[in-house]
């Protein structure tokens, strides 16, 4: 009786296509990843249905954290001289007497959340180290000493003649009075248009906006 020969198949599979795909995905993620800039405070923004993109340059970012502390940031990647303009004006008007080293350190400062009296101390700390420093927030709640007004004025002058967007990034759990104080400071500078930073939410089905967008399609 002839024995049936079962051919022995190799378990060694060719993994080349698999590896190809893996590296393709890898290169995609490397390209698509944009690292979050280190933030000294974590801010969870509420959602909204609007999908305008947030500008990354020519903007002033005012952040409000969950403890209602207000921080100020200038976004100007292309023109670092704007940072110098702003800090010089603050230095002059508030008579802070900052050293040139402190002024140049302002470029590396990601967020300012100190009153003018504490600015000198903050700028003594190296830009990267500032993340570990707990900042008390810019005083805004007192309407006679709303220091944010000066920061906005300084940046308004630095960006004179250019487009400047005022971004307000608030934590969802911060209370309304802090937001109102920020708006008050902007209003004092004759600025009435702001952009609120939000994350993207879905448009509720059947709502008026939903129907309009469907019609436009």
């Amino acid at each position: 009786m002839p024995s049936i020969k079962i051919p022995r198949k190799s378990t060694d599979t060719d993994m080349t296509p698999f590896v190809d795909i893996a590296f393709l995905i890898l290169s995609f993620f490397i390209m698509a990843t944009k690292f979050k800039p280190p933030e000294p405070v974590e801010i969870k923004t509420p959602g909204s249905v609007l999908s305008q993109k947030m500008p990354e340059s020519n903007a002033v970012l005012i952040s409000i954290d969950s403890a209602n502390k207000v921080y100020f940031t200038i976004l100007s990647e292309k023109e670092p001289t704007k940072f110098d303009d702003v800090i010089n004006e603050i230095n002059e008007k508030q008579k802070l007497g900052l050293t040139p080293a402190q002024i140049s350190n302002f470029r590396k400062t990601f967020m300012v959340g100190v009153p003018f009296t504490g600015l000198k101390q903050l700028l003594d700390i190296e830009g990267k180290e500032q993340i570990n420093v707990k900042q008390p927030g810019i005083p805004v709640m007192d309407s006679t000493n709303n220091q944010l007004i000066w920061w906005i004025q300084a940046s308004k002058n630095a960006f004179a003649g250019e487009k400047l967007v005022y971004l307000i990034k608030g934590d969802g759990n911060s209370k309304y009075p802090a937001f109102e104080a920020v708006i008050e400071a902007l209003k004092k500078n004759e600025e009435f248009k702001y952009s609120l930073v939000t994350s993207l939410d879905d448009i509720p089905a059947g709502s008026a906006l939903d129907l309009e967008l469907k019609r436009l399609k």
């Binding site: 890898l26 309304y176 930073v197």
Partner: protein, 214 residues
């Protein structure tokens, strides 16, 4: 494991006395490379910030002291929303009337507010009477609606009397404020304003909050 197919078959005989050169395999063990590849993929997947932040535009009016320059709105088309503690929304239509027998101060939540806005809007649109309206006052709106390709462009300014006034109180969170502004976009409310809370309203909210069981 992973391998590149290398070399041909290990040759034919070259005749007697000729020593066969030792052929080294070109097969490379790719396992470590694959390991590393997947490690990197995992790393980038976790650190990737795919969701780019978006922005919501907000326009605030200039503060005017002159009464003549203030915007006038029809009482019948006004819906006032007050944001309170713990996602509560208080609202009234028209003028606030709280007294004996009359009380139009009502309460809802962030979820229920959409229906109230829609209801009020429908009511205002239903009351629209072209005879009482200056036809010139809404020509611009009709024209822009027509331009956008709205088939109902004739109705563009039927809701012109509809105004929502938003009054967040001290306990309202920023999330609620943004949500209510978002609600304006969702329901296509064209006229809305953020106003400071009045004294009487503040007291009413306080009283309502105090009377509620916790």
């Amino acid at each position: 494991m992973a391998s590149i197919e290398g070399g041909g078959d290990s040759g034919h005989k070259k005749g007697p006395g000729v020593k066969k050169a030792k052929k080294l395999s070109t097969r490379v063990d790719m396992t470590p490379m694959v390991d590393l590849g997947f490690l990197l993929i995992t790393f980038f997947v976790f650190t990737a910030t795919m969701s780019t932040p978006t922005t919501l535009d907000l326009n605030m009016p200039k503060d005017v002291d002159d009464d003549k320059k203030k915007t006038e709105v029809k009482q019948s088309g006004v819906l006032t929303l007050m944001l309170g503690k713990g996602n509560q929304v208080y609202y009234y239509e028209g003028q606030l009337e709280v007294g004996e027998g009359v009380n139009n101060f009502k309460q809802t939540t962030m979820k229920g507010v959409r229906q109230i806005i829609i209801d009020k809007k429908t009511e205002v649109i239903g009351r629209y009477n072209p005879a009482t309206v200056d036809p010139k006052s809404c020509e611009d709106e009709k024209a822009s609606a027509k331009k956008k390709g709205d088939p109902n462009w004739e109705d563009a300014c039927k809701d012109m009397d509809f105004v929502v006034i938003i009054k967040p109180d001290e306990e309202a969170t920023y999330r609620n404020t943004v949500d209510i502004l978002d609600e304006m976009t969702i329901n296509k409310v064209k006229r809305y304003a953020m106003v400071k809370l009045g004294k009487e309203e503040k007291e009413l909210i306080k009283a309502t909050e105090a009377s509620e069981p916790k």
